[in-house]
Symmetry: none
Subunit: 437 residues, 2 copies
């Protein structure tokens, strides 16, 4: 018997209802592992719901590991029902400890000077008077001044400290931004993989699409177009800026990993190409400092300033004040620029080394995609396994990895060099080869 | 004379060098506003550089507002050199420095042991491995374990670490909660003063009301019913819990300042009165530690758990990982409990002292409202001024205060004792009296 979802009034509720229905079917093994999910069209017809609702539910099921997409074939139920439930008390401790983490976007241990950072935090914590009060809603003023000088020097972006809003991570900034641009109604992301971003827009009632320029908001990461670090060429940047301006769309430029553009010169930001109009620029430090430091910032274009200022006092600052003070001085003393140069050298070298290792270990049977930015390459290799099977096998051996795509007989795996020490490349790749056979 | 850029080896350097050269020409008015830039081809030939390099430099100059493209004609210098630069320092510095802050909800300088906190942060920053990765979306697991033990001991609340969600302040938590309970559609706040809370609900499309129990969500701070610290008696708490349960309303219990209930024993939480169903409990540390430490947590009732878990991975943690680790150990070592006792004693004493000072200075003409919690009293006194007039006069003299109400001939002012040292009570009150006359 098919369920009736029509009682659930709101579209959002509908998609959750479909999600829950299939989740329960899967966990209760009424849909056993390996079985094919109904096609989007069939499912939409049977449940009398829109294809988008079904698609959203499926995307969420896939994101949560219940189903997996296979190229040109559709969605299949994973073996999640066979796996022990995450026990209420830290299943994690029972897992095989991670020996080689090829999926981490953490920072190379050698790449971060803890001693230095500790010194700046210690010095920030000595500013008793400042720490005794709440932080400025927009972010500490001296920090915003420093940021505006920093982006001028490093990204050629002209803005005043008053244009900058600081927050604890990109999501915190989107929580401030989304309500200001709600009338845009639709948002386009380059891929479904930036779930953290799309979730926030969905929460505010935006219709989320992928690679659809005819949207009120166009979210892009020009230096991180694909997981393996393809960057957007200047010509396409210009085209995008012109298109958005002509159609009244707002561009959100998440300048993630722009620091790690190795193979050519850093390209101008969309923000500056657009002359600072129609673009919100978002910068982060998690890839440059520690992922655990939650500080991001956005630069608002003039047309959003009034709307923001009218509400600014209603939002408390989310980023740690001590960390803002520390980072401010850290940047002023030139350490962030030095850190960027160091990591760029280090990662560029490591990525090259990883590529050589991969070619050496996997030989001509495999193919590699590599971009001109970032810390990750995509390796496609023949394997009789499904992605889930390989991941499970690998987890048992302490190897953690991320599957990008799978098709019958072939898996595409993302290998990140950032957190893994270079001396582990060879043993990690050899282990991966053995497991995938 | 034309510059020679050939020493700059990298293409990036070249384009930047050209950019800087023309920028300086323009700002130093050697290329006056309105003059035409050399064509790309001419310029490339003269500088013996590629057309692309020149084009990139021009694009950047245009992006930064130095030149502007005119259709079918080329680039022209703008009037940027004539415009005043955005001033780097804001007006704020011209204000009279604050001498007596009677409106601050900061922490008493004597009440916080910076040396101790610095030690815990330092120790947290030594956990290199943990800090090299992103934090858990729900909050660090050991911290949530510690929190669940803490609320059990201090608030009689039974919950597991899995029920707890950590975030950087109450707003960050509401950003996760609101989308989960969107179908409730209406929310009631006790007063319009908690703008930070009502803004978030409004952003998610809720209809915000005040003191209206017939709402889908009822937001209350039982230990902070009014600005001057009235608390909700147990009888009303029980009544509210029963009413909400009967009407299917969700209570959000923001347990703000429950630690500062002086005049009677701390009252049971709504969460525990309701047996953990139909209530979301929110706790914060900003009044106990430093306002600048952005860590709050919420305890979800079982009926919201599934919906949260389905989306948990989509939300990045906003609170600083280092501060979570530090606070976790700080609580385990008993310092938070000790800090609470110390502040409760200190604030209770200071509030009494402030009351005596107020009665002494203002005499029988004034009336005072004081609650059994908090750090604030409400003083009503006759004055020919409006609230804004008094605030403006006070600001000029370095006195900061908050107006609660005004009626012709009478002002009601909130006086907070928390951040002001006790020795300043008398001079601050005397100054206020003089200004209000």
């Amino acid at each position: 018997m098919r369920p009736n979802f029509k009682d659930e009034a709101e579209p959002r509720q509908l998609y959750l209802a479909v999600y829950r229905y299939y989740r329960d079917q899967i966990t209760e093994r009424r849909l056993p592992p390996g079985s094919k999910m109904p096609s989007l069209r069939t499912c939409a017809q049977e449940l009398k719901l829109s294809r988008t609702t079904i698609e959203n539910a499926y995307l969420q099921l896939a994101a949560d590991g219940y189903i997996i997409a296979k190229a040109q074939s559709g969605y299949y139920v994973t073996d999640i029902a066979d796996r022990p439930l995450p026990s209420r008390n830290t299943a994690r401790t029972q897992d095989t400890p991670v020996k080689y983490n090829l999926s981490s976007s953490g920072v190379d241990r050698e790449g971060f000077r803890f001693d230095l950072w500790r010194r700046y935090i210690k010095s920030a914590l000595r500013q008793d008077d400042r720490l005794l009060s709440y932080g400025e809603p927009q972010g500490e003023e001296d920090f915003r001044q420093t940021l505006s000088a920093y982006v001028r020097e490093h990204r050629n972006i002209l803005c005043t400290p008053q244009d900058i809003v600081v927050g604890a991570g990109v999501q915190s900034l989107l929580h401030i931004l989304c309500p200001l641009v709600r009338e845009k109604a639709t948002v386009s992301f380059p891929t479904p993989s930036f779930l953290q971003g799309s979730t926030v827009f969905q929460d505010y009632g935006f219709q989320v699409r992928y690679r659809n320029k005819d949207s009120g908001v166009i979210y892009v990461s020009p230096a991180h177009m694909t997981k393996w670090g393809e960057i957007m060429p200047v010509s396409r940047r210009l085209e995008l800026v012109r298109y958005a301006s002509g159609h009244g769309s707002l561009i959100i430029e998440d300048d993630f990993e722009n620091e790690f553009v190795y193979l050519q010169k850093p390209t101008p930001s969309l923000f500056s190409l657009a002359g600072g109009r129609g673009v919100v620029y978002i910068g982060s430090f998690s890839r440059l400092l520690l992922p655990s430091i939650r500080i991001s910032f956005m630069i608002l274009p003039p047309e959003l300033k009034d709307a923001y200022l009218a509400k600014a006092a209603s939002y408390n600052q989310t980023a740690s004040k001590a960390e803002q003070i520390a980072l401010c001085q850290f940047i002023r003393d030139g350490h962030l620029a030095a850190q960027t140069r160091k990591l760029r050298r280090l990662y560029s070298q490591k990525l090259k080394q990883l590529l050589e290792t991969v070619e050496d270990v996997f030989g001509p049977e495999c193919s590699v995609q590599i971009g001109s930015a970032g810390t990750t390459l995509a390796l496609s290799l023949p394997s009789p396994l499904t992605g889930e099977e390989l991941k499970a096998r690998a987890a048992k051996e302490g190897l953690r990895l991320q599957i990008l795509r799978e098709s019958p007989g072939e898996l595409t795996i993302l290998l990140s060099c950032s957190a893994l020490p270079a001396q582990d490349f060879y043993p990690a790749c050899s282990l991966l080869k053995k497991l995938a056979e």
